[in-house]
Amino acid sequence: MKKIKTYTEALTKLEKTVAEIESGELTVDELTDKVKEATELVNICRKKLRSVEEDINKSLDELN
């Protein structure tokens, strides 16, 4: 999997992967790979979201 840089990129790819899985047209092997990929993407998204959340909280704290 090529390097994902942004949250939006990861999310778009996640949506696409989930849609592929849901289509039911994958082979078992493909399915396994796709699920693995989707799980990774979810983790990437979570990580990025957490990092964004931290940044935002830090900035908001500076407001007070």
Partner: protein, 416 residues
């Protein structure tokens, strides 16, 4: 030759007839028309009585030196006047008839009170005439500058009074300067009235804008001030367009010139003090005005300072209110932002969680773990495609991959 008398006999007869019939003395009212004092000190007078201007009686009179010396001094002291032509007197004397010198009235006493009363009567006449002319108060009613600067003086330059006045004015301790012009005039005797009137005319014709005319006299004889009671002089002074101030130096009551003048003072020194006093009044008024102005300016300044400080306070309060408004808005926006962010993050998390759940749910391993298996034919998972007996299929369980041959097919005909 008829009976006759010699002239001497006739005169002696007159003399004896007179002395036999006349009282030793009479009080007589008469006007002096001529008066001479000879080198022996005897005074020779011509007495007249007039009806209007016409002489209706005339007599020679004498005051012998022994009487005249005392009588004239006493009369002067009492009336402040010398015996002179034009004066009406009440005198006591006796008729003497000398065979060589003829009839003469020998004066032994003069009633000074009569002359004073007579003088007062004449003065009153002049005053009444000025009143009738409507000029009496004219000079008094002139407007006078608050302070006098250009001053015309009518005086005799040699008079001690003039010197007193100038000394007083020039030595004033306040340093006031005056522009003073002297107009010379005779200040006593019969020529004084005309001389002063001429001086007034000269002042008028000079076209100089004098603030006042000061008429001063002083020193010298205290007698013979009748010139200042003269009608013509008073008449001119009344109507003079510049205020007249007198310092004639009367000890007795005021002269008519004093009465009609704008201001009458006893002495030249008093006039100088009055002039300086006016300047002082103006200066003190000015100082007072300056102080009042200063105080007023201070008041205004303080008021303005208060205004400015009140404006500053209002401005600062307005700033504070604005700032606090903005602060409030910022805080509100901040809170809004925080809650928005929170919501957004929550939604993002929830979305991700959904994906996570979905991915987990879709993960075939989990299905296999629950005891299900996945069947595929030629690598492709079985959906609704038909299988035939004898087809080779692959079955994936959690831990095994089975290959089977279809031996029997029962259609389940599940509708849903």
């Amino acid at each position: 030759m008829s009976a006759h008398l010699s002239l001497l006999e006739l005169n002696k007869l007159i003399q004896s007839t007179l002395s036999g019939n006349l009282e030793p003395g009479y009080w007589v009212i008469a006007e002096i028309s001529e008066l001479k004092v000879n080198q022996n000190g005897h005074c020779y007078i011509e007495l007249v009585e007039k009806d209007e201007q016409r002489v209706i009686a005339k007599t020679r009179a004498t005051i012998w030196a022994n009487v005249y010396n005392n009588l004239s001094l006493w009369f002067e002291r009492m009336t402040n006047q010398v015996l002179k032509p034009g004066m009406k007197i009440l005198c006591f004397g006796s008729i003497q008839f000398h065979e060589l010198y003829g009839l003469s009235f020998n004066i032994k006493d003069i009633d000074a009170n009569f002359t004073l009363g007579e003088r007062e009567r004449l003065r009153q006449e002049v005053i009444n005439k000025l009143m009738e002319d409507g000029v009496f108060d004219m000079n008094k009613e002139l407007p006078v500058d608050l302070a006098l600067n250009r001053i015309a003086i009518i005086s005799s330059p040699a008079a001690a009074g003039y010197e007193d006045f100038m000394n007083q004015i020039e030595a004033n301790e306040y340093g006031y300067k005056y522009n003073i012009d002297l107009f010379k005039a005779t200040m006593q005797g019969s020529a004084a009235s005309e001389s002063i009137i001429n001086a007034l005319h000269t002042i008028y014709n000079s076209n100089t804008d004098y603030d006042a005319v000061i008429i001063i006299r002083g020193g010298g004889s205290r007698v013979d001030l009748d010139c200042f009671d003269d009608y013509e002089l008073a008449f001119n002074a009344c109507q003079f367009p510049i205020p007249i101030i007198t310092g004639i130096g009367h000890e007795r009551d005021q002269s008519i010139l004093d009465l009609v003048a704008y201001k009458a003072l006893k002495t030249p020194t008093a006039v100088a003090e009055w002039v300086i006093g006016k300047s002082m009044d103006v200066e003190s008024t000015m100082i007072d005005l300056m102080h009042r102005t200063g105080k007023y300016v201070q008041l205004i300044l303080n008021q303005k300072r208060t205004d400015i400080s009140s404006l500053t306070n209002r401005l600062s309060n307005s700033f504070k209110i604005q700032l606090s408004n903005n602060d409030y808005q910022l805080n509100r926006m901040c809170s809004q932002l925080k809650s928005d962010v929170k919501l957004f993050m929550k939604q993002a998390h929830n979305g991700l969680d959904d994906y996570g759940t979905k991915v987990n749910y879709l993960n075939p391993i989990n299905t296999l773990k629950r005891g299900y298996s996945i069947t595929s034919k030629n690598g492709k998972m079985l959906g609704n495609e038909k299988l035939n007996v004898g087809d080779i299929i692959e079955t994936r369980t959690l831990y095994s991959l089975l290959e089977s041959k279809v031996q029997k097919i029962d259609d389940l005909n599940e509708e849903d």
